[in-house]
Every structure is written in C-alpha cells, then in structure tokens.
C-alpha cells in the first residue's frame, strides 16, 4: 500500500501508514503472519526484549474485565540475542517498520540492549519504562521525572536509531513525564501502557491473576488514553504515538485528532486478528470521506469547547 494519504513520518522513520501493532500483543509477528499480510502494517513493535531470556510470571496471566483485559505476562521473552538471531531475520522479510521494545532491571541493561540492537536492522527503539508487571526496573524508571530523565539521557547515548519512550499512565501528571523524556533526548513518545488494576475471584476470594495485579487494556481504557494523548501532544514538540483500547478506524481518528501522529493497536488483535488491516482501511475511508489529502490534515486538529 503506497498510499500517500496515509504516509507518516515519526522521528525520521517513514511509515506507509500510521498503524503499528503494539508491543506484547503481537509477539514477533509470526503468529499474525498466518492471518494477515504483515507488509500492510505501518510497523510492528515487538514483544518487550530483555538482555537475558525471561520466563515471565506464573499463570493465570490474564483476566477478562468489563470491556477490557488485565494481563500480567511479566515480559516473557527469549532474550535479545535470540531475537537478533531467530526473530529479526523473519521480521525483516516484510516491508514494515520494526520497533524494538526494550526493558531492563537497571539502566545499564537498557544501555546494553540499545548498544546491541543499534547495529541491527531495526528501525527504532521503544523504551519500555512502563511495564507494570515486573518487580524490578521498568515502570520504576518511568513514573518519576527524575527517573525518566536519567534513563532517557543515558540510553539515548547508545541509540543509533530513533528512541521512542513509552509512558505509563500510572502517574499523577503525565505531561511532566513526557516533557522530561523530550528534554533528555526522546525522539518520540508512545502512550499509554496499561493501567494497573486488579480482578478478584469472589468464590476463591483471591485475585484471578497469580501476580495479584495486572495491566488493564482494551476499550475500557480508551477515554483515559485519548485524554493523556491530548495532554502530552499539547506540551511536547516531538511526535506522539497514541494507543489504548483502539478497536476501529473511528477510535484511531480520535487519537489523531487529539494529537497522535500514529497509533498502536494491541488488545483488539486478540479479538480480531485482522484488526490492524481493517483499521488502516477505515482510517483511509474517513480521510477520503472528508476529502483530506493526508493524515497530517487531522493530527491535533480538535477544537476544544
């Protein structure tokens, strides 16, 4: 699809369309390649990568909640070396942007990940400082101005590719976190990661998730995500990638109007493996219907009441 209508550029990465599969919901693309043509996607943010392989949390790792799900996967992944050796060559067969989502327990681990991946064919980094499901690191860096400033600044030194910083919504003021990331070298912001939540089995009188808490995603979080996208896009100059509960082109358009230059689709892939493709087509229909020439014509174009 070389449609100029949908082309967008994020921190120097040219995307054929503004729809990216969200990290953690799409693995390394293999499973979804059995359902859809990955060439049609704007990009894929891969499952969060750590320096060493991680087994993740105990099951149950998922619970359904009203219009959403709670997950506590806990960053299960084969480690960065296995990704580079076994998964990246598969992904690079497709003409789509590959974003490496990276996570660690310490700043040094993030730096080492950035260094290792900088010399590969990935297109960008997504700094995961927002996963709520691991004991150490991750969200601990992302929920304070000091934390995000320090890690962004340090990791940026090792990045030879654009650095997208993925924000957690579990903070008092997401604007100040976004501004701190921007001030310390982030090339783009993505948001929101999941909202910390809990679901209880009333018959067992225990949380459903073995990890007790998990991250909420799906349509239930969309209004929060749209509001935060708007808030962040209003205070930073770097591009914003919006996500949270997108199930349709209409949902995605809300994020563009709120100021997002691209969107990520996560949970809805589980429900409908064609979700990303359908959303791309629906965005195109909307732009055509209103005779817009480009997706840029609607980015940040809401008028507040």
């Amino acid at each position: 699809m070389t449609d100029s209508l949908l082309k967008v550029e994020i921190a120097g990465i040219k995307l054929k369309n503004p729809v990216i599969a969200a990290s953690g919901t799409f693995g390394f693309g293999r499973e979804y390649s059995e359902f859809i043509d990955l060439n049609k996607l704007g990009g894929i943010s891969v499952k969060g990568l750590t320096l060493k392989p991680r087994e993740g949390n105990k099951p149950p790792r998922i619970a359904e909640t009203p219009a959403g799900i709670l997950n506590s996967i806990g960053l299960q992944n084969p480690g960065v070396d296995a990704f580079i050796k076994d998964e990246l060559p598969f992904l690079k067969q497709f003409d789509t942007a590959i974003i490496a989502n990276i996570a660690g327990n310490t700043i040094e681990e993030y730096c080492e990940l950035a260094e290792k991946l900088s010399d590969t064919d990935i297109d960008a980094f997504e700094l995961n400082v927002s996963c709520p499901n691991v004991k150490e690191g991750c969200v601990a860096f992302g929920n304070t101005v000091e934390g995000i400033s320090k890690i962004t600044k340090q990791v940026k030194k090792y990045c030879k590719k654009p650095l997208i910083v993925k924000l957690t919504p579990n903070v008092t003021d997401i604007k100040e976190i976004a501004m701190a990331a921007e001030a310390n070298g982030a090339d783009a912001i993505s948001l929101i990661n999941t909202i910390l939540g809990m679901a209880i089995d009333i018959h067992k009188r225990r949380p459903i998730l073995a990890n007790n808490f998990g991250g909420l995603s799906g349509p239930a979080v969309k209004p929060i995500a749209v509001r935060m996208t708007y808030e962040v896009a209003s205070v930073v100059k770097i591009p914003v990638i919006g996500m949270g509960g997108i199930t349709s082109g209409d949902d995605a358009i809300e994020f563009f109007l709120a100021g997002a230059s691209a969107v990520m689709v996560g949970t809805w892939n589980f429900v409908n493996p064609y979700a990303c493709i359908e959303i791309i087509n629906q965005i195109k229909s909307y732009l055509t219907m209103y005779k817009y020439k480009s997706i840029y014509d609607i980015i940040g174009k809401i008028q507040l009441n």
């Binding site: 919901t25 499973e31 993740g56 099951p59 459903i208 892939n269 589980f270």
Partner: protein
C-alpha cells in the same frame, strides 16, 4: 492463511442443565480439524466479553461440513453463546492448537475423561481407526452425564463413574482406570479433565510403562500463540535445551504448543 470465519449455526441445545451442544457449518474447520484441537469463539459481538472462548472440538461431519462443540455455560461468554440460535452467525477461528498424536502403532488405546474434559476424547475415539478402544469417563452425578450413547458407539469398552454413585461406579474414574490398566495392555492413554484426575492418570500410565497424552487448560488471551498468557510448565527434556537453561522446566503456550502435551513433559505432574 488462517481465516477468521463467520459460520452459520445449525443447532444449539441444552443437553443437561448448563451443558450445551452447538453445531455449526464450516467447511474449513470440518475438513481441517484433528482430535484435541479447539475453536476460538467470539461469543458476543463488540466490546462485551471481549476475549474469544476456546472450546474443544467434539465432533466433525466431513460429508456435511458440520462441526460440533459441547460447552458448559459458566461465565458471561458462554452465557451469550448459550442464547445463540439456528441461523445465527458464529465468529470463530480454528482449528487451533496441537492435536492428540494418533498413529497406527497404537492398536489398543484408552481415553480417560472427567466432566467437560470428555468431549475432545469423543472426537478422538471416533477418528481412531484402531480395533480396540476403551473409554473411562467420570461425572459428578447422573444429572450431568451426557453423550453416553456416542461413547458407547465409538468405544469397545465403556466405564462410567459418578462421584455420588447415582450412575455407574461410585467414586473417581481414576479408580476404574487403575483397575483397567492392571488388566489390559494399552499402547497409549489420552486424558482430559480436572488436573488432579490427569495427574493420577499420568502417574498410573507411567508406572505401567505406557505413553500418555494430556490436554491442558489455562486462561487464554489471543489463542494463536502471540500473547503468552496461557502458559503451562513443561519439563526441559532435550540435552541441547538443558545446556541453555539452569531450570528444569520452561513455560509453553497451551494454545499453540498444546493444548495436548505428553504426560512426561507436564511439569505439574508428580510435583504436588
């Protein structure tokens, strides 16, 4: 490419309280399904009960392209599904997952099922071309025993238990199975049902030196192997994998690497 299918429901009937049999027409699933595999159903359109519900395949009619599933109405998703009627559209993905290993080498097979775990075993009995098939199926009581006629049709020997003795043997089905295994040289055992039951089955099978396959269950997300929600612990057996790991097990996906695993791979067995 694997399709997301929108198929016509032919029949949806409550067999006994809360257990439903649903038949839908699907050429793709009927022609491709193997025993042990499941279908993943969006029980309600839109944002209610958003996750698909994995339900094992109970039967297929390849001549007429009918697929039968039997499910328990247990939560909101299956509640919606129970209201579906003939002519309604079913949003379904499948067949998914690893099937039971069936081979001409296995001349004398046994299945051991409990509760709603019996349904994939019925499909296996029907598909198996072997001469000698024995089924052990357990229910809580006679109010919820179902598809007995079908089991009688496809098994040469059928053993039934109920927890309260209201039908068949009073007690656990594993009691009957342990007797059976002492008297009969099975080539393979297939089991599906409550974990405690499957643990006993695996233990008895391996004590008798008979290979055994288990069908595991876990809360699922995507159902196709991407989200890593539905994991179970599987023993690391190959030497090359042992070298790369300091653990004796690793997580495998029930939806993609399973739901069927070899009993000797299943880590939980023997750990309790």
């Amino acid at each position: 490419m694997q399709p997301v299918l929108f198929e016509k429901i032919v029949h949806n009937e409550e067999l006994v309280p809360s257990i439903f049999k649903l038949v839908f027409k699907s050429e793709y699933i009927a022609q491709n399904a193997k025993p042990g595999q499941f279908v993943n159903i969006k029980c309600c359109e839109g944002i209610n009960t958003i996750l698909r519900r994995p339900i094992s395949i109970c039967d297929v009619d390849r001549d007429n392209n009918y697929v039968t599933i039997v499910y328990q109405k247990r939560g909101k998703g299956t509640e919606y599904l129970s209201r579906a009627r003939e002519g309604d559209t079913l949003n379904v993905i499948g067949p998914l997952g690893r099937s039971f290993e069936m081979s001409d080498r296995y001349k004398n097979i046994a299945v051991v099922g409990g509760g709603i775990g019996i349904f994939p075993l019925l499909f296996l009995l029907k598909e198996s071309k072997t001469m000698k098939k024995t089924a052990f199926i357990g229910f809580r009581n006679k109010e919820n025993y179902v598809l007995i006629d079908e089991f009688e049709r496809y098994a040469n020997d059928l053993f039934i238990s109920t927890d309260d003795g209201s039908f068949g043997y009073k007690g656990f089905i594993t009691d009957l199975f342990e007797n059976g295994i002492a008297n009969e040289k099975f080539d393979i055992i297939y089991t599906c049902g409550p974990e405690a039951m499957m643990e006993k089955v695996v233990k008895a099978s391996y004590q008798a030196g008979i290979p055994c396959q288990v069908s595991l269950e876990q809360r699922m997300g995507c159902g196709i192997g991407a989200c890593l929600a539905c994991v179970c612990r599987i023993k690391i057996i190959s030497e090359s994998e042992k070298e790369n790991s300091n653990k004796s097990w690793h997580y495998k996906r029930v939806c993609k690497d399973g739901p069927v695993f070899w009993g000797h791979e299943w880590y939980e067995w023997g750990q309790a």
